[in-house]
């Protein structure tokens, strides 16, 4: 009853008000999760890009991009509710997702049901893209577990660590990584996975599981965790004798929160490296300059000021690709925009040059070439490891 009325009202306004009607872009993130910075990073990237787009005249003949955020606190149920809200919003063309794969995985049936284009710029579980939807409304400009896990295992091998233990979160994200390990192990002999330990959401200690892996002969621990659990592990490891501390090769979930602050000085007592897709320290000059020019207006003076850098960079690039897809679609129709995303030609982004970003067969914008290992610097900045 209300919807048709509203539509009628909007239609009547078109002749003289079309230029002002914004095109909405949603962000569904873990804004309300304490110590988390990932959702804020995504928002920052989207806003910087949207600012640039709007300053360049917006989309669809002058319509500004308007950003709508919703908080899911990393809880799937809240995320599902958010998707429903976004789906109900007029002129909303797509939703950016946050860090937590489990949330996105739980949202998939809803996305499938409501046909809202979903842009994953952090969450890495394979199934987010390999979701069986036809057409597929999910697009990713981010890491993928089946890429990240082999890379991390190879990193162990490179460092001569032949036996590794897996410490995984007992969620769909953890299982996604386990699947990646199994796939890798099927064809690679090293490193050998000597043991796997699972921890549950809200476990308050991980040291016993860590010790079990070490006792099983693990020379390194492949960690799939978010910032809070990782901080717990690091603090517990730092309390162990030096001989009992093995290197930790971590998935990047830890970079989505205030991990350095939570782990404290313990972080520098442990050999802790983390996989990344991008580093501002390695960024190409021209796109970086363009980015920083706008980012300064959001309080970013130096690249060191950027928290959760991959989230910012991915979101920034994705927003620009989305804007081009909207133009390509010529309307805010979600199906049209979805289809257009597969048709955006080459795009010169911050992370890389996308040529093209997506195709109907490939909804992953990044590949193994972008992967790198990084460490936390004392000031908290994430810097690439020297190769």
């Amino acid at each position: 009853m209300l919807k048709p009325l509203l539509a009628l009202l909007l239609a009547s306004l078109v002749p003289f008000a079309t230029a002002q009607v914004p095109v909405r872009v949603g962000i569904d993130g873990e804004f309300g999760l304490d110590n988390s910075t990932s959702a804020q990073a995504v928002e920052l990237g989207v806003r910087i890009a949207a600012t640039q787009i709007n300053e360049a005249g917006g989309v669809l003949g002058g319509r500004p991009i308007e950003i709508v955020t919703r908080d899911h606190r990393s809880i799937p149920a809240r995320g599902i509710r958010n998707i429903r809200e976004f789906a109900a919003m007029p002129e909303l063309v797509a939703v950016f997702g946050g860090r937590f794969s489990p949330v996105v995985i739980e949202q998939l049936p809803t996305l499938k049901e409501l046909n809202v284009p979903f842009l994953a710029v952090w969450s890495a579980a394979d199934v987010i893209i390999d979701n069986g939807m036809k057409p597929n409304y999910a697009f990713r400009l981010s890491l993928r577990d089946s890429l990240a896990m082999p890379f991390m295992l190879q990193e162990a091998s490179r460092r001569g660590l032949e036996r590794v233990g897996l410490l995984l979160t007992n969620t769909s994200w953890g299982r996604s990584n386990q699947a990646a390990v199994e796939k890798y192990s099927a064809t690679n002999r090293t490193p050998r996975v000597v043991a796997t330990a699972w921890y549950n959401w809200q476990d308050t200690t991980l040291v016993h599981k860590y010790q079990r892996l070490r006792e099983a002969g693990a020379q390194a621990v492949i960690l799939v965790a978010n910032d809070d659990e990782a901080a717990v592990l690091v603090r517990e490891m730092a309390a162990l004798p030096k001989a009992e501390r093995v290197p930790v090769i971590s998935h990047w979930g830890v970079t989505g929160g205030r991990f350095v602050k939570e782990a404290g000085p313990a972080l520098f007592e442990v050999d802790f490296s983390v996989v990344q897709t991008f580093s501002f320290f390695n960024a190409r000059k021209e796109p970086l300059a363009r980015f920083m020019a706008t980012a300064r207006r959001f309080g970013i003076q130096r690249v060191e000021d950027i928290e959760s850098p991959v989230g910012v960079a991915h979101a920034y690039d994705m927003m620009h690709i989305l804007a081009r897809a909207i133009e390509l679609a010529g309307s805010t129709d979600r199906a049209a925009v979805r289809a257009a995303l597969e048709k955006v030609p080459a795009h010169e982004g911050l992370v890389k040059r996308y040529a093209p970003p997506f195709t109907p067969a490939r909804h992953e914008a990044l590949g193994p070439a972008e992967l790198l290992m990084a460490r936390y610097r004392r000031d908290g900045a994430i810097v690439p490891l020297e190769r």
């Binding site: 309300g32 999760l33 304490d34 110590n35 988390s36 606190r73 990393s74 809880i75 799937p76 149920a77 809240r78 509710r81 937590f100 489990p102 949330v103 995985i105 739980e106 007992n170 969620t171 769909s172 299982r175 549950n200 959401w201 809200q202 476990d203 809070d228």
Partner: protein
């Protein structure tokens, strides 16, 4: 009440003892009963409290266990995982929840929901209805654990919610909703689990005890109430009251029997005494005396009875003696009177002989009168009826009058009387007539117990603030053992020198009593038989002398003649002689012998004066007087009471009846003549006359 008691003292004691014992038994039984009942009630209350405590603890324990288990489940990582990971929920979440279908035997319905209250999983025991879901939604908004009582199909249900809290987010991300049928929570027996605000009056039905429950349930105010019926059977039947009663009755009977025997034993001496008393009454006085043995009280009683018997015996003896003496004393004057009468008959014309006979008769009659007066006085004093008319009296006047009264006797015995006159101002507060009587008695005695020609000394003086009157003689004296007894009634000297003039042994008794009535003492002294005796009267002295009151001057009786007098007396001789005497002195006189005759005579004869005896047969003197007053001219009539009754109340009574004057028999003619003279013919007698008549009437010496 007392009439209901048995007559026997022993039985009364027994009854009293039995009554007291029964009372004590009753009180003891009642107290024991009460104590037992109280202890029993206390025990029951204690038992109830324990039962209540037990059930409260059991129920509280169940609720605590449920809350603790649910909190534990809510905090489990399994549920936490279930919140973020739907994959495999069926494989781990449902079995996990299905494993907690009951806690401590209480079935629990469990529902695991998301942050909005949407179902994630349940333990499959049953569904939650709309109201329960709505409550959960509201509770989730509050964001904290809570509980509520909601109606369910099987009665009230405790519905509670435990939030799933993630420390990195500000509000619950899920909830564990659970419910239990409160009927499943331990109640038991007569106990009832209650909750919510207490209804008024509930507490009166049965006490309640609050349950110790976890904070989440505390606002529900769970409490255990009961028991609603006393667990009487729990501690056995009531005490065997019948046995107690039988025992009490048996004890009571034993006490009664023992009391009877004891009372009999204890009252043995009393009953012996009673037997003795009964024997004394039936067989008369004898020398036998009650045994003074047994208990102190009974021995004392026996002693008193014996003293009384002694005294009774003694008094009887004295009375016998007195009667013998009285007969003798009364007969003594009769012989000379009879002789003189005979002499008067024969000595016609012989004036000297007649005069001698008359003098003898007069003397003897006076003696008789004094004898009777003294007897009457002693009687009055003994009964406490004598009244003194005190006034200021000089000793000199007293001595003078006493000597005057006794002079004839002293002179007749040829005694020498020495009078040591007191100072004129020496005075006492006394009834002059009585004091004169005392002194004359003493003088009389001295004369009587002194051989003729003896010496009698009378003196009065003031000494140590007292007035003293001493009468000393050279007579036969008093044996030392008799000194104490001379004042006893009917005691008289053993050997009198003048048996003819001897008295009844009442003179000294009378004298001493009169002195004592005046607040003084009378003492007897003697150095022994034959060595004379001395009597000393001591009286309180009046300090400030006044002008000595003039001695009452006896007005010589004026001739009272020409009156019409009616003499009424049932003693015909008395009436006739008085009428003859009145006629002899120039009056007209008539006699009547009873009241009715007197009234009739008065109406017909119209006397000016009526001399009326009060103790008349049929109609008494008072009635006659009133009747006469009512007759024409009766008010002006002089009516004089002539009676043997001389007490003050008698005088008042006669005055009230309308008598003008009151004379006590035997009235001497001079008193009568004074009254007649003071009341001129046809005139009312003055009150003064009446008073004087009264004052002088009883005495005739």
């Amino acid at each position: 009440m007392l009439r209901l008691l048995p007559r026997s003292l022993a039985r009364r004691f027994a009854l009293a003892a039995a009554g007291l014992a029964a009372g004590a038994l009753l009180v003891t039984s009642a107290a024991s009963w009460w104590l037992i009942e109280r202890q029993r009630n206390d025990a029951l209350a204690e038992l109830s409290a324990r039962e209540r405590h037990f059930h409260a603890a059991a129920a509280g324990g169940q609720l605590q266990a449920i809350a603790a288990r649910m909190a534990e489940v809510a905090a489990s990582t399994i549920l936490a995982t279930g919140l973020v990971d739907s994959a495999g929920r069926e494989t781990y979440l449902a079995p996990f929840l299905a494993g907690i279908r009951q806690v401590n035997g209480v079935p629990v319905h469990v529902l695991f929901t998301d942050f909005e209250g949407k179902t994630i999983a349940s333990n499959g025991l049953g569904r939650f209805n709309e109201a329960e879901r709505d409550w959960l939604a509201a509770q989730l908004v509050l964001g904290r654990a809570g509980a509520v009582i909601l109606p369910g199909v099987q009665g009230a249900q405790l519905v509670a919610m435990e939030p799933l809290v993630y420390r990195r987010t500000p509000s619950p991300e899920g909830a564990l909703l659970y419910k239990v049928n409160l009927a499943d929570v331990h109640g038991g027996g007569s106990m009832r689990l209650e909750w919510g605000p207490e209804a008024a009056g509930e507490a009166a039905r049965a006490p309640a005890l609050g349950l110790a429950v976890p904070p989440v349930f505390q606002p529900l105010q769970f409490r255990m109430r009961g028991p609603f019926e006393a667990p009487a059977q729990a501690i056995g039947a009531a005490p065997e009251y019948v046995a107690v009663l039988a025992l009490a009755l048996g004890l009571f009977g034993a006490v009664v029997l023992a009391g009877l025997g004891l009372a009999r034993l204890l009252t043995g001496d009393l009953r012996r005494l009673q037997g003795f008393s009964a024997q004394v009454i039936t067989s008369g006085l004898s020398d036998e005396r009650a045994p003074e043995s047994g208990s102190a009280e009974v021995a004392g009683l026996a002693q008193s009875i014996n003293r009384m018997l002694d005294r009774l015996h003694e008094q009887q003896q004295r009375k016998d003696e007195f009667l013998a003496m009285l007969a003798h004393e009364l007969r003594n004057p009769l012989a000379p009177i009879a002789h003189s009468l005979e002499l008067l008959k024969r000595a016609r014309g012989d004036g000297e002989l007649s005069a001698q006979a008359r003098a003898t008769m007069e003397r003897q009659v006076r003696h008789l009168v004094r004898l009777v007066d003294d007897l009457l006085d002693v009687s009055r004093i003994t009964r406490g009826h004598l009244e003194l008319r005190r006034s200021r009296v000089t000793l000199a006047s007293v001595l003078e009058q006493a000597v005057e009264a006794c002079r004839a006797q002293i002179d007749a015995a040829g005694h020498a009387l020495e009078i040591s006159a007191p100072p004129a101002a020496l005075a006492v507060e006394a009834d002059p007539v009585r004091l004169v009587q005392v002194v004359s008695n003493l003088l009389n005695n001295a004369a009587k117990y002194t051989r003729p020609g003896g010496r009698i000394v009378l003196e009065a003086c003031a000494q140590h603030g007292e007035a003293r009157i001493r009468v000393r003689d050279t007579g036969m004296g008093i044996a030392p053992e008799m000194l104490d007894r001379v004042f006893d009634l009917f005691t008289r000297g053993e050997a009198s020198n003048d048996p003819g003039a001897s008295g009844l042994g009442i003179g000294l008794t009378l004298a001493r009593r009169l002195v004592e009535l005046h607040g003084g003492t009378l003492e007897a002294r003697s150095e022994g038989l034959g060595r004379g005796s001395e009597f000393i009267v001591r009286l309180p002295l009046l300090e400030a002398p006044e002008a000595p009151a003039p001695l009452p001057v006896e007005e010589p009786p004026r001739p009272a003649a020409g009156r019409r007098v009616l003499v009424v007396d049932d003693n015909r001789d008395a009436a006739a002689t008085l009428a003859a005497l009145l006629q002899l002195t120039g009056n007209q006189a008539r006699v009547a012998y009873d009241g009715a005759e007197a009234i009739a005579a008065a109406a017909e004869y119209r006397p000016e004066v009526v001399l009326l005896d009060i103790g008349l047969p049929k109609v008494d003197g008072y009635e006659v007087c009133r009747a006469m007053r009512a007759q024409p001219g009766g008010r002006e009539r002089l009516i004089v009471a002539l009676t043997g009754w001389g007490q003050d109340q008698d005088r008042r009574r006669s005055e009230q009846a309308g008598f003008n004057a009151h004379l006590v028999k035997p009235a001497d003619y001079s008193s009568l003549a004074r009254i007649l003279a003071a009341s001129p013919p046809g005139a009312q007698p003055t009150t003064e006359t009446s008073a004087r008549g009264r004052a002088s009437a009883p005495r005739g010496r």
